[in-house]
């Protein structure tokens, strides 16, 4: 008999810049895992599978998950699955854990989101190697340019002022200020924030490189109920989607149609008819702050070109009708795979009524976690979590 998968516990570490970090990648993972296990009430030896993410080329060791897992003190023989889908690795880790549980393969799965970006001396040079070989790598494209291209396309299509893009950044940083796990918790001095990066993005709109780790424990709903530690958070729907690899094939950079397609699929699975009304809290992956506008539209929260209103009218705050990225999101904290898994952790805490930093959404029953990445945001993942009685 199949059983629903549920989030039994989550663990986040404090984050900082790689330069200030004194813990190793493995030590950070140990800390996150310890916290997640303690939160869930499961013992280490009860874990029967581990799903761990890594992104080769960004880390000093290839398939770094293989060197991290042995240090987690799990039972001999525990199955290890290594997932690498670039910027959606954390979401992919969570999705596979959900399927292992729902498919009857495992009952207590540990998801590990390590700190990925600690190593590279020039991270953007590494991101360039993930762009299509021969066609786009030689043009000098890196992560911020992808973010810049989407923001530029959106801005020119809908006539959006730079101030709106700045407001997207300011709001997420305002949220981060309350989050004890966030990295950049103070606004940058205005003249620093205004440093041009790639039009229309300025330094204030771009994510930091962070160091930290995230872990999540997924079990069957029956086990989560028996543990009786936290309100039971069911994984109601989840999935991923792939776009074309090259920047070509997208007709327009002012939206991510593939995310809209994925959202349609996931809402149907979760029985959601009106996502704006039926979702109580969102964590969406916008390392470049203005991405938020495009993602909200693809997720069906408003019409095309209307997202600036959501930002301007305060809808995205804790007391708004669409609380979004109350953690500050990856725009404030981006330790790679850890950041991609973090949306799931923050949503689970919200639904458990345990959000830290005074950002608990009243009566939060259903939330959405998103991750995206790879060249031109080729991949997206979504998960809908809901509190069950």
């Amino acid at each position: 008999m199949r059983n629903h998968a549920a989030v039994a516990g989550v663990g986040l570490t404090a984050t900082t810049s790689p330069g200030r970090q004194t813990a190793s990648k493995t030590e950070l993972c140990q800390e996150a895992v310890d916290r997640a296990l303690a939160h869930s009430g499961l013992r280490r030896a009860e874990i029967d599978a581990v799903v761990v993410g890594n992104i080769d080329g960004f880390e000093a060791t290839s398939t770094a998950g293989r060197t991290i897992v042995p240090a987690l003190g799990l039972a001999p023989g525990t199955s290890v699955y290594i997932v690498n889908t670039g910027g959606t690795t954390g979401g992919g880790v969570f999705n596979l854990a959900a399927s292992l549980v729902r498919g009857g393969e495992a009952e207590r799965v540990l998801c590990v989101g390590p700190s990925t970006f600690d190593g590279p001396v020039d991270l953007q040079a590494v991101i360039n190697t993930a762009l299509p070989v021969a066609m786009e790598q030689p043009l000098g494209i890196d992560g911020v340019h992808v973010g810049g291209m989407f923001a530029a396309a959106y801005q020119s299509r809908y006539g959006v002022a730079d101030e709106v893009l700045e407001l997207c950044a300011a709001q997420q940083r305002e949220h981060a200020a309350k989050n004890p796990y966030a990295h950049i918790r103070k606004p940058l001095p205005p003249e620093t924030a205004a440093t041009p990066i790639t039009t229309p993005l300025t330094l204030g709109m771009v994510c930091p490189v962070s160091s930290g780790a995230t872990a999540v424990v997924v079990t069957t709903e029956t086990i989560a109920r028996r543990l009786d530690r936290n309100p039971v958070v069911r994984i109601a729907a989840y999935g991923s989607v792939a776009d074309t690899h090259l920047g070509t094939g997208r007709h327009d950079f002012s939206s991510c149609e593939v995310l809209a397609l994925l959202a349609d699929r996931i809402y149907k699975d979760a029985g959601i008819m009106d996502p704006r009304r039926e979702l109580d809290v969102l964590e969406i992956f916008s390392p470049y702050a203005p991405m938020q506008l495009i993602l909200l539209e693809d997720l069906g929260m408003c019409g095309r070109g209307e997202a600036p209103h959501l930002v301007r009218d305060g809808s995205l705050h804790v007391d708004g009708d669409l609380p979004t990225n109350l953690s500050g999101g990856p725009h404030s904290t981006n330790p790679g795979v850890a950041a991609q898994l973090a949306p799931v952790a923050y949503i689970a805490l919200q639904l458990m009524g345990q959000a830290a930093g005074g950002v608990q959404v009243a009566e939060a029953r259903r939330g959405l976690a998103h991750s995206t990445g790879s060249a031109w945001w080729q991949f997206h993942t979504l998960a809908i979590l809901e509190k069950t009685e």
Partner: protein
Amino acid sequence: MTESLVHSVNWNIDYKVNLGRAWSRFLVSLRDDRVILGTTCGSCDKTYVPPQAYCEACYEPMDAWVEVPPTGTLEAATIAQHAFQGGPPAPYAIGAIALDGTDTLFIHLISGIDLSDQENARTLLRRGTRVRAVWSQERTGSIRDIDHFAPVG
């Protein structure tokens, strides 16, 4: 508290990446004929530049080759103010170009205007700007055999 050590780690691997049938023909055509080639899907009629050996939407092989004019319309552009290790010197502009007669957006560098005046350059590179390919003097079978696209008229 003990001293916190940091190691320098470097990977050094040489690759020879195979470009395959479609991209080889495309790049040879840039090099030898200064002609942009695309492939058209017999099933959905979409034309891809750069060409692909298969249409991922229809999941069918594509072998109808078409010549595409070196002109198009800018859909979006971003002007980079920072260089990364091994990349081009800043400032430089990257554009998404709807090449005439294609159904894809071609990514390439945009130049031929003064990029140091950022605000003026943003106006010159707004959506809808017509652009044309400027060929490199030295062509080697690379995407940079088109040196860049420049705004026209």
